[in-house]
């Protein structure tokens, strides 16, 4: 029995509150206490270490954070595409549409992949199979999830290529990936993801590998199809400018945990966690023209030598003794607004005041 199964059993026996599908029916995806570890030569990498978030039907969530903080691993865990070994989903629940994905059989999960949940990846250049035509690859996705003839599948492929704005889709279906540019390939991948009308689209840094003008087009496309089809969207990126224009809610990740969540405006205009403030600080803004961009001091801690307590504490300018204890995701103000920082604890008004001043200055600099 795997560690996950053991945890599931323990939970069921204890009747832990919070188990079971989400109460609110408009919640499409709810991830609870997700932990994904990699057992490698030097030890265990806790790539995702207790992540919780929700996405409503048709809703959009942005997941941001520095490289290596566990964004892709979270997405892969939702798709159950973690390679085992060395990876392992050690604990957690992933409620999707009333079912816990972690309890499904491989076959049930396979039907969900590409059907109810579709995913697009960071590398459009290499994410399409070079030896099959674009049409074959989209049709394959269609036929895996719907009982349609080859001809119908091909028509669907053409239709979805048209949806993502590729010119002459009838000709494109017969082309091979190498005949298309990077931007066009990403459109093909989006078309493939949308071909089965998924309820949730996971986009893992869909624009990172593209040049800036194409980036804007692809984002706009994702925005458009999301609005048109009503698909929920989980957008992973490390670019705050990207999420600001695309999603409603934002979750900031650091060292395998969510450190701050809330609506995009709230988080970006009123960051409650020094890490988020640091991220904002490092984007170029109007007021900062001519000045050096300030990067966050220090480096991401090694997965094998995590500091005690708050994982951001060694790099945090506001750090004090209390930070050596692990903070919870504390509610701040309104509901669904949370930050994992002792500054937000009830008794810390004095410290909070100095921090808020610094944060406000940062936001002013960025917004201009």
């Amino acid at each position: 029995m795997s560690r996950l199964e053991a945890a599931q059993e323990r939970r069921a026996e204890a009747g832990v509150p919070g188990s079971g599908p989400p109460q609110a029916s408009d919640v499409l995806l709810e991830v609870r206490n997700l932990r994904t570890y990699f057992h490698v030569m030097d030890g265990t990498v806790r790539a995702v270490d207790g992540v919780d978030f929700k996405i409503n039907r048709g809703g959009t969530l942005g997941l941001v954070g520095e490289s290596g903080c566990g964004k892709s691993v979270t997405a892969h865990a939702i798709m159950r595409l973690i390679e085992t070994p060395p990876g392992e989903i050690a604990e957690g629940e992933i409620w999707f549409d009333g079912r816990d994905l972690l309890t499904l059989s491989d076959e049930e999960m396979r039907e969900i992949r590409g059907g109810d949940i579709a995913m697009i990846f960071q590398e459009p250049m290499t994410s399409l199979n070079p030896v099959f035509t674009v049409g074959d690859q989209i049709s394959e996705a269609v036929r895996l999830h719907q009982k349609v003839s080859a001809r119908e599948a091909r028509d669907r492929a053409i239709e979805s290529l048209r949806l993502v704005g590729l010119s002459a889709p009838e000709r494109r279906v017969r082309q091979y990936p190498h005949e298309l540019s990077g931007g066009m390939r990403q459109r093909v991948l989006i078309a493939m993801a949308l071909s089965c009308s998924p309820k949730l689209l996971i986009a893992d840094e869909p624009t990172t590998a593209l040049d800036v003008t194409i980036q804007a087009q692809i984002l706009e496309l994702i925005n458009d199809v999301q609005a048109q089809t009503g698909t929920a969207l989980l957008l992973i990126t490390h670019d705050l400018a990207v999420v600001a224009e695309t999603v409603q809610t934002l979750a900031v990740m650091y060292a395998g945990r969510i450190v701050e969540t809330g609506s995009v405006e709230e988080v970006l205009l009123n960051p409650r966690m020094p890490y988020t403030q640091g991220l904002l600080n490092s984007i170029p803004g109007e007021k900062k023209r001519g000045k050096a961009l300030s990067a966050i001091e220090g480096v991401v801690p090694s997965p094998f030598r995590m500091p005690p307590g708050c994982k951001f504490q060694p790099r945090c300018p506001h750090q004090w003794e209390r930070c050596t204890m692990e903070p919870d995701l504390l509610e701040v103000g309104r509901s669904e607004r949370r930050a994992r920082c002792w500054l937000q604890a009830p008794g810390e008004i004095e410290r909070r005041r100095t921090y808020d001043l610094a944060a406000a200055a940062t936001v002013r600099d960025v917004i201009g």
Partner: protein, 366 residues
């Protein structure tokens, strides 16, 4: 595609010419020479050796010898001789062609110094046994290499993978002659005596392979004939398979592993392709690309044969004939075999290139 093949075939001509030149001169500087076989024989006089040289044209200057061997020089004038020769019949009309009829350009590889037979006949006689032995071994080791390599890649670092690695390592390091002899010791010698010690047919029971009598026997008793051939094949085939499987199975494993780690495999999984199809369709098609080239380049082996294996198991094929020819300073046979080998290598390269274009849409004929 036809245009591409024709162009590549034309490009092969200078290559082959170069190869013929190189083989010719390498053999020339090798110690011994065509008269080397008389060196140890005290009964042969200098005059006899002179007569031998004159008879075989060895008294001519080297360039003339090469030129005659090629067929550019001969009875007809220089260069004209290279054109097609003999007579040609068209609608009852007999046309005398201007060219000569000697030299490899006219399909004349000369005569064996040892027994005076045309080299072409010698090769034609030795080729089928080699094709049978090498072909059987090749097919078997490719199939096993594929299955084992793929399985090892899908279950990489598993027990099977490690076992295969060890097997490959051992197989690759074993000297062929040693393995062959050990197999003979184990399975052909008493007490087991399961398989014949060597040869291709059981003398006295079965007529020599390739003769008319053999085929009469074959059609009269096909099962006996095949069984007899089969028992003679087992040990040499096993030897060849064990020794050669390592390279190909490592190659298949590596390309498969590479393909399985590619992003498009992740895409395929993410769109719900069943794992079996991920492996056999998406990854395998891509893993095939380098493998196809590699297999293509192994084709010449089918014709040239395995020198050591054929020698140990007294298999009457090209490889053993080559060793014989070396031992007897039989230069025309040596030259013939070397040149034919190069033709097959060039041809196999061309074939591999053509197949590559067919299986990989990214590569174009140009």
């Amino acid at each position: 595609m036809i245009k591409y093949i024709i162009r590549r075939a034309l490009q092969a001509i200078p290559v082959l010419l170069g190869i013929s030149l190189v083989t010719y001169f390498i053999l020339l500087i090798a110690p011994g020479g065509p008269t080397g076989r008389f060196a140890q024989n005290p009964n042969i006089t200098a005059a006899q050796i002179e007569a031998f040289k004159r008879r075989w044209g060895l008294d001519q200057p080297i360039p003339i010898q090469y030129c005659r061997w090629l067929g550019v020089c001969g009875d007809k004038p220089f260069l004209i001789n290279a054109l097609p020769g003999g007579t040609f019949e068209l609608a009852g009309l007999k046309i005398d062609l201007p060219g000569g009829d000697n030299g490899i350009l006219h399909g004349d590889f000369g005569y064996s110094i040892t027994d005076g037979r045309p080299v072409v006949d010698v090769i034609a006689e030795r080729l089928p046994p080699t094709l049978i032995l090498s072909g059987t071994a090749w097919v078997i080791w490719i199939i096993i290499a594929f299955l084992a390599g793929m399985y090892a890649a899908v279950r990489c670092y598993s027990l099977f993978d490690s076992a295969l690695t060890i097997f490959n390592y051992v197989g690759f390091s074993l000297p062929t002659f040693w393995l062959g002899i050990v197999l003979i010791q184990l399975f052909s010698a008493p007490p087991l005596k399961w398989f014949p010690v060597g040869g291709m047919w059981t003398t006295r029971t079965v007529p020599p392979f390739g003769t008319e009598r053999y085929w009469d026997f074959f059609w009269a008793q096909p099962f006996t004939a095949l069984y007899d051939l089969g028992t003679h094949l087992v040990l040499p085939v096993v030897t060849l398979v064990v020794v050669n499987i390592a390279f190909d199975s490592r190659f298949v494993r590596a390309s498969m592993l590479d393909a399985l780690g590619q992003d498009f495999v992740k895409t395929a999984r993410a769109k719900g392709v069943p794992e079996r199809r991920v492996v056999f369709k998406h990854a395998l098609r891509n893993a095939m690309l380098p493998v196809v080239t590699n297999i293509g380049l192994e084709i010449p082996f089918l014709f040239t044969g395995a020198v050591v294996t054929e020698t140990i198991f007294s298999w009457p094929g090209m490889g053993r004939e080559f060793i014989n020819a070396v031992g007897h300073f039989d230069y025309p046979v040596l030259m013939g075999i070397l040149l034919i080998t190069s033709v097959f290598v060039v041809f196999a390269n061309l074939l591999a290139d053509v197949v590559y274009v067919i299986v990989d849409p990214r590569v174009k004929f140009d």
